[in-house]
Structure formats: C-alpha cells, structure tokens
Assembly symmetry: C2
Homo-oligomer: 347 residues x 2
Amino acid sequence: MDVHDLETPSVLIDLDRMEANIQRMQDYCNQYGLDFRPHIKTHKIPDIARMQIEAGAVGIACQKVSEAEVFAEAGIDNIQIPYNIMGKQKTARLTDLALYNRVVVSADSAYTISGLAEAAKAKEMALRVMVDLVTDLQRTGAEVEQVVKLAQQIDANENLHFAGLLVYPSFPTMRPAIQEALHQLDRAGIGVDSVSGGGVGATKHAHEIPELTEVRVGTYVFNDWGTVSHGWASLDDCAMTVLLTVVSRPAPERAILDGGSKTLSSDVLDDGYGRIVEYPDARIYRLNEEHAYVDVSNCDPAPQIGEQVHVVPVHTCVVTNLHNRLYGVRGEEVEVVWPVAARGLVW
Amino acid sequence: MDVHDLETPSVLIDLDRMEANIQRMQDYCNQYGLDFRPHIKTHKIPDIARMQIEAGAVGIACQKVSEAEVFAEAGIDNIQIPYNIMGKQKTARLTDLALYNRVVVSADSAYTISGLAEAAKAKEMALRVMVDLVTDLQRTGAEVEQVVKLAQQIDANENLHFAGLLVYPSFPTMRPAIQEALHQLDRAGIGVDSVSGGGVGATKHAHEIPELTEVRVGTYVFNDWGTVSHGWASLDDCAMTVLLTVVSRPAPERAILDGGSKTLSSDVLDDGYGRIVEYPDARIYRLNEEHAYVDVSNCDPAPQIGEQVHVVPVHTCVVTNLHNRLYGVRGEEVEVVWPVAARGLVW
C-alpha cells in the first residue's frame, strides 16, 4: 500500500527511525555490559518485541498480567512485570504464566508478597519476586530500611525467590540509596540476582550507576514530544506520527484537525497537545474527543482545508493504546500493518 | 456473576442509574416536543443505543463514519454524523451507508460539500447535508453570512439535499444567530428540515430556543465528574465508575491505585483525575499510564492496601474508549458484559 492511500486518522511508524532507535539503545547497553529489557507498554506489539530481542534484548517488561499473557502467547518467555500484582484471579493467572515462562514480578509491601506466596503455593512453584525501591518520583516503592525486611520475607518463603532490586526511574541521584540497600542486603546474607533500573531519561545515565545490571525502557522505540522536550531525543528520532487532515478552516487563525483526545490522548506538554511536523509554528491548543484546535496565526503559509499533516504526539505510549493498528512505513510504502495486540489490557 | 468477583481495573455501569438518565432526558424532550438523538460517542455500544431508541429517541448521532457503520450493522438506521467528512475512501463509505440507511452529515465549507457531492454523484444518490453554524465554542462552523451560501451550494446540487442547521453547543446565547440564519434561509427561499442543537449542558436550556427541532447529547447517559462539576448532574446520576484497587501505600499520605491514564484517561478537572466515591476527601493528583497517585492525607480512615474503590471519572466518553468491555451492574449482580463495539474507531 502507498502511504498516500492512507486516510486519517492513521498512526504511522517510520520503520527506519524505529530500527535506529532500537539499535542505538542496544549499542549503549552493550557498551556498558547492561542487560536491556524493553518495556512493551509503548508498542504493545509482539512483532516489535521480537525485533528488540533479535537486536540483543534479554527479554521484555510488561505492566500488567494480561499484557504478559499476550506476549508469552507470541513466544516471548522472559518477562518482567514491575508491578504489585494482587487479587486472586490475577495472581492465579500470573503463576500459571510463570509455570511455563521465565517471569519475575515486583512488590513493595508484605501484603503483596503474601498474596504472591499464596498463589505460588497453590501451584507448588517458586515465583521470582523483586523488591521495588522508592525513588524521587514518589510513586510506589519501599524505603531502603524496608527493603531488607521484604527481601527476607520473600527469601523465607519456599514458594518465592528473591530476584533482586527494582528502581524506577534510575537517575544517578538514586545511587546512594541503591548502594545502601545492597549493603544492607549483603549484611543480611541475601544474594541479589539483579538490579533493574529504567526510564527513558535515566537510562542515558545508567552507566553512572555501576550497580545496575539491567535497564528497561519503553518510549525510546518511538520517542515523542515528551522525550524531545526533555532533551532525551531529537525530533528526527521520533518514529511515531499521527496522520490527520485539516477538516475545517473556520477562521484565518484557526484550523481544525480530525483527531482529538480519542486519537492523540489528552496528555499535554509545553502548552500543546502535539507538534505538527509540517507547521512548527502552529500550536494545538485544545482537543475535544474528535477535534484538534490549531492556532495557525504564526504560520506562513498556513495549512489549507483538506491537507494532511503529521503530528508528533506528546506521549507515544498512550497514543498506541488508543488505536487498533499502527502502520509501519518505509519511504512512501506501508510495509506492515500491525494490530495493537495488547491494546486496552489494563488487568 | 457477582460484582465482588470482578478484578480491577473494571469499568462498571450502574444500570438503574443509566436507565433513569435515559428516561429523564427523553421525558424532557417529550415535554417540549423536541426530537431526541443520543450521541453514541459516550458508550459506543449498540445495545445501549437500542435502549435509547426504545425510550423514544428518533435515531443516533456518531462522530465518525466507522462508528456509524458499526451501528448500522446493528440495525440502527437513522444516523447523523455531525462532522466534515472528507477523503475519497471515507466519502465512498459514507455514501455506501447512506444508500441503505437514513444518514445525514454536516459541512461548514464549500470544500467539504464538493467532496460529498462527488461521492454522492458516483452512487447516483441524494445525500442529506446540514450546515454547521459556528458557536461561542469557536470550533468548526460557518458564520451566519456563510450559511446561506453553503445551503445554496447544497441545494443547487442534484446529488445533495439541504437537511437543516446544526449547532453545537446550543446554549441560549446562540438563539439570535440561529434566528438570523433561519431568516436569511427563508429570504433565500430555502426550506429547513431541522434545527439540531446539543451538548449536555446546553440541552437543559433547549426549550429556551423554540427554533430547535432536535437535540443530541452523549454524556447524559452515564454522566461524570465533568457534568457534576458544571452542575448539570448530581453525583448520584453518575452511572459509570471505574473499579480500582489500592496496590501500594508507600507513605502515610499516599495511596497508589492500579489504573492510570490508560484506564481513566488524562482528562483533568478541579485539580484531580476523578473522584473516589468511598473517599470524597481523597484527591487523585497525578496519573502515570498504569498508576493513580492519591493524596489521602485528609482521609480518616484512609484506604488500605488491597481495598477496592470506585472512581467517578472526569470524562466518561474517553474512558469508554479506552476499554474493551463495560460491566452492567444491578445491585450486587453483573447483569451484562458489553463489548465496546465501536471502540477506537477514529476513521
């Protein structure tokens, strides 16, 4: 299919750029002897995970059990779920998965660990569990002093195996806490299989924390206005664009595109909902569900009605999750159409 | 299925509340002799559209051709698409649909009308086209002076039929412009089949614009924090809640829920990403893709780890669009599981 035959909205992936992004990150990890574990939240597509593994990744990370099931079904068997998995049905499905695949999860509380232990006991297995260390992000994660207690709880249970330390994001400021946690674990006589860091910005500095054994990153595969705005990528590294049409020019300063919050998501940055490649001086200042409002008063010439434009979204991961398929494009050719296999799997 | 057997995240629809919302809006329209045309963007589920039609609705509104196809396939044959449809494949599919269903679209430019005319000519049919009048929202829509010209363009084309005036949202402040447009159309000798208004807030005042013949509303069927915050509904009218679990309590003031921007969307209002029914004093202050950060410092008692909570989302329509199914609940019973048939149909 020719790219000019696509109607809008369509989500395009520039295959040359995506392949370069995959290789660049793998090269970095190889250079520093880091295991690389791409997070599939960004693409949710098994074919792309296979490309990442073929380039040298050790496995993948998923955020949810239902995502992991899709990727295991597709033949990927080294899966990390850096999440507190709880609930009887979910822990049962998690342990089902771990019977036949190399699976590791994380926990930041005794409550989570107890639930995992119960599910693992029912299957007479040993489930691999990492301990999540709190970071400056202040999301999940145990304080350093709690890490040893949780590791001991895991270690003491015959149906669990302590699989290491999990840190997100692993900016260099986290090194002292990581060192202290490792020191305390060492003093408690607990072996540490791995120290997993991650985050698209932090990974550029992963070599500044020699204690890290692996990193996990999602967004790098496509990049977006967020990574560009933070200086973690250039606009030329952005593999994902959303093809939209100018469907209305109701006023000289205003253009309306045929994609809104159901196409681009409501994520906003730098006072805009995405960047129009062809019109860098335009600003997407508001979204409704199926409309983007664009201020074109600084554009000369301004976009015309019926014209197609490419939008670099603010946050690629949430855009993937809105769409049923992504179009892999090389030059003028649509080389592949990928169903977004794990789309909407929030469970 | 018992509602307590559901794991999280799950999107619940309180069927009693939804049915009351459907009946209340229909009663209002019946009282004032207004045709009611529910917009299916909020639920994207044919079964719910059928309930709306059984209650007395004349048909439905869809925002995209691909949505209209799903609902036509399900047997609903009076469909309005209040959107500038352009692009050869889309206008071809639109006219295919209009051959066997009662379909009407809108336009705000000569460009849109020309494209529709070309597609209708290829099918040797007459396509029904309304003219979209600009409102205070400043989104799409022609100025009053342009309305007659566009109506004349439609009227003069043997493959198009002028089907009336479209206004969104139709707050009472729009009455003078509607009157002026109708006056000019009358002077030009152009008959007006219908004057369609809409918007969940504006519809409460639809009777203040006697010129309106119909209204279209989506959000009323479920309601959300947005409609409550604007005073258009009460919290007890909110039929949709998102069932989430407290998966981490890493600090006394912080709870983390297992749903983020891929579950609740990034739509934000009143400095929060949704309201927790059980903890009105809690505030969801940040979302990542699969995590909600909750400030529970004002809660006494505070939610505990492992506890399930119900979140009224900020914007119900974008939440529906993130999920593969909605659970229709009555009391403790999950009475129906609906696939979100038109989810992700942005085309």
